[in-house]
């Protein structure tokens, strides 16, 4: 203590006290500050949310409200989850171009990382379905036949037998499922976008979703085989009837005209 009191008047004493005081307050702050903000592994997530919020303010807030609470022009996004954002923005449906019976698929304008940031922001507003991982939606090893049966039970009444799409009331429609990314098919089932009902895991477990995705891929994609020849849109008797009349009967009448025009002419030899 003698030493301490002896140097009490030392010219650098004030500096030392100041340093000690700073170290103490700093240490105390570090000890008592909110833990999550200080954890290093969450920084990326918080950054994504921040970036997502910025993107949201520019691209989405005009219809969905500044805090995702919804307005008269767009529904609330609280609780829709990251899967819904990944589907809507990832297929180009959102941001919507204009109001209408249904928002159509168009060119995707955000990069996948931007979509992830937007999804992180919307997911932070309230718990909802999470963007699936590849293991969840990959059609590899799924049961195609079972998927077909499930598809005909749950999906065909709007999307047609092989997912060619169909009309709903007042200009709404179920889109063609040809070559839709398996992830987006999964997310659509999970979240029920626009006029589609949702099929959560409690109704349609993950394995069944994968079966359905495998079935769609088998019957309606680039690699789908059409053993009978031209598919004629896959819409059944209406397109077949049109084809039969135009090309079938049309060709036969043309041939009839040709045959009638070439006859044994007695007059001219």
């Amino acid at each position: 203590m003698k030493k301490l009191s002896a140097r009490r008047r030392h010219p650098l004493a004030a500096v030392v006290v100041l340093l000690l005081a700073l170290a103490a307050t700093g240490g105390l702050y570090a000890a008592f500050a909110p833990a999550d903000k200080a954890q290093a592994d969450d920084t990326a997530q918080s950054l994504a949310i921040q970036e997502g919020m910025k993107l949201y303010t520019v691209g989405c807030a005009s219809c969905h409200g500044t805090g995702g609470q919804g307005t008269s022009d767009g529904p609330s996004l609280i609780g829709v989850g990251s899967a819904a954002v990944d589907f809507q923005v990832g297929t180009g449906r959102m941001p919507a171009q204009q109001p209408g019976p249904q928002v159509p698929k168009k060119k995707v304008i955000y990069s996948q990382s931007e979509i992830d940031q937007l999804a992180a922001y919307v997911a932070s507003l309230g718990a909802g379905p999470i963007t699936p991982t590849e293991k969840q939606y990959s059609p590899k090893g799924a049961d195609i036949a079972k998927g077909g049966d499930l598809f005909r039970t749950n999906c065909a009444q709007c999307h047609n037998f092989t997912g060619e799409g169909g009309a709903l009331t007042d200009g709404k429609y179920a889109p063609n499922l040809e070559d839709v990314d398996p992830k987006h098919v999964y997310e659509a089932m999970q979240t029920g976008p626009q006029n589609m009902p949702s099929f959560p895991d409690s109704t349609l477990p993950e394995q069944q979703k994968r079966d359905i995705i495998a079935y769609i891929h088998t019957v309606n994609s680039d690699e789908a085989a059409s053993p009978g020849g031209l598919k004629l849109g896959g819409f059944g008797p209406v397109s077949e009837g049109l084809f039969g009349w135009v090309f079938g009967l049309g060709a036969l009448i043309a041939v009839a005209v040709w045959v009638a025009a070439h006859t044994a002419k007695a007059k001219k030899s």
């Binding site: 036949a145 039970t153 009444q157 053993p227 209406v238 009839a256």
Partner: protein, 541 residues
Amino acid sequence: MSTTSETNRKAPAGERVADWADGRLGIYSLAKANMRKIFPDHWSFMLGEIALYSFIIIILTGVYLTLFFHPSMNEVVYEGTYVPMQGIRMSEAYASTLDISFDVRGGLLIRQIHHWAALIFIAAMLVHMMRVFFTGAFRKPREINWLFGFLLLVLGMFTGFTGYSLPDDLLSGTGVRFMEGAILSMPIVGTYMSFFLFGGEFPGGDFVSRFYSIHVLLLPGIMMGLLVAHLILVFYHKHTQFAGPGRTNNNVVGMPLLPVYMAKAGGFFFLVFGIISIISAVASINPIWALGPYRPDQVSTGAQPDWYMGFSEGLIRAMPGWEINFAGHTLALGVFIPLMIFPMILAVIAVYPFVESWITGDKREHHILDRPRNVPTRTGFGVAWLTWYVILLIAGGNDLVAIFFHMSINSITWFARIAFFVGPVLAFIITKRICLGLQRRDRDKILHGRESGIIKRLPHGEFVEIHEPLSQEELYTLTAHEQYKPAEIGPTVDENGVRRKVKLKDKLRAKLSKGYYGPDTYIPKPSVEEFKEITGGHGHH
């Protein structure tokens, strides 16, 4: 000497066979009467042939399909080669159709030929029927043959319906369900008839085998008989022909059956078979493997019948879903009314020949065809009927129209509802006016000749187009038709000045007849005097 050598002469083998057959069948007199039968030449006379040949193709391919098809609704688990159906429970009918498509050699092609030929068969019958209608070929003595043809069309529709229902796939099962609904909508008898047809509650385990008998035996048998009768009557009545120089109501100008028409018709059969085969090889039809087996708890959008049943689908889709409660019973008018209109639409065209001959009072024989323009009322009626039919087809495919043209399905349905009533009337008025316009053009051509496109300048500076006069043949063809006078009631007072009683029926008929043949339904043909006055004078106009 000569007689002995003739009796000793050994006739060639062919002649001996023919002699043998003639002694037992009398083929010489038959052949003599028919081999030189004359047929006139016009492409539209071959539409019926398209129908006939596609019918033959359907029978040939159908026989092949029966060798592999199992008309049974027993449940089996599919173990064939089509992966997306492996392990699925289905009826034997559906499984055997999958086998025909994937495991029977040539099965898929034959199936597709059978189905495409069916679509073309009924389309050809309808077009043939319209040819007969618009040219007035149904008039005496051919009314019965018109009815035979009409019955063939209706039976063809139902043969097609029972045929595409056989594979027991999800699409056709939905169609059978539709039919069951229509039967159930009939008051009192509906439920009994449904139970009778399906052997109990729908779908039961019977309808495929029942439809099979109807499809391969009953209906084609009747159709075969009607077809033979139809052709015998064509031979008996002789073929109609268009007006032209040398062609009268009492002759037929054309080529003999043998050799010309045998060669042409035989060749045409192979052309028809060839075109149908090409289409079947190129384009898929009714891909039942993509549809899945029928289960009453499943349904798909875009569930339409084949085109010839499309107008019934249209009736149902356009009809509002009315349902009333009558004396404690539910009446599904939304289904029952369309079910009643369905036969009406067909009947309207079937009875037309009789209505026309009653209205016009024309009971003479006709072997010279009308040009549609010269009978505007009939032509207008025919186009109105077709418009009606097409509107119902559009209503039947309203969902696909909505998708392709990015429209609301509700607007299309409303369009169909309004057009169902307005469309035929508009079509009638417009067609009649077009016919009159064409008649005016004919009159103009007769009197002033054909426009040559050559412009001549006269000495005083006037420009005129040179018109070429028509040849004598063309003039005859354009003026050969008769212009009828409406049937009159006759004087309303008898010779003593007493008022005659005129029946209401006769009054109505006179009114209709006036509408049919009255002054605003034709442009008078130029008379000989008019023709001479105009063509005899100065050369141009």
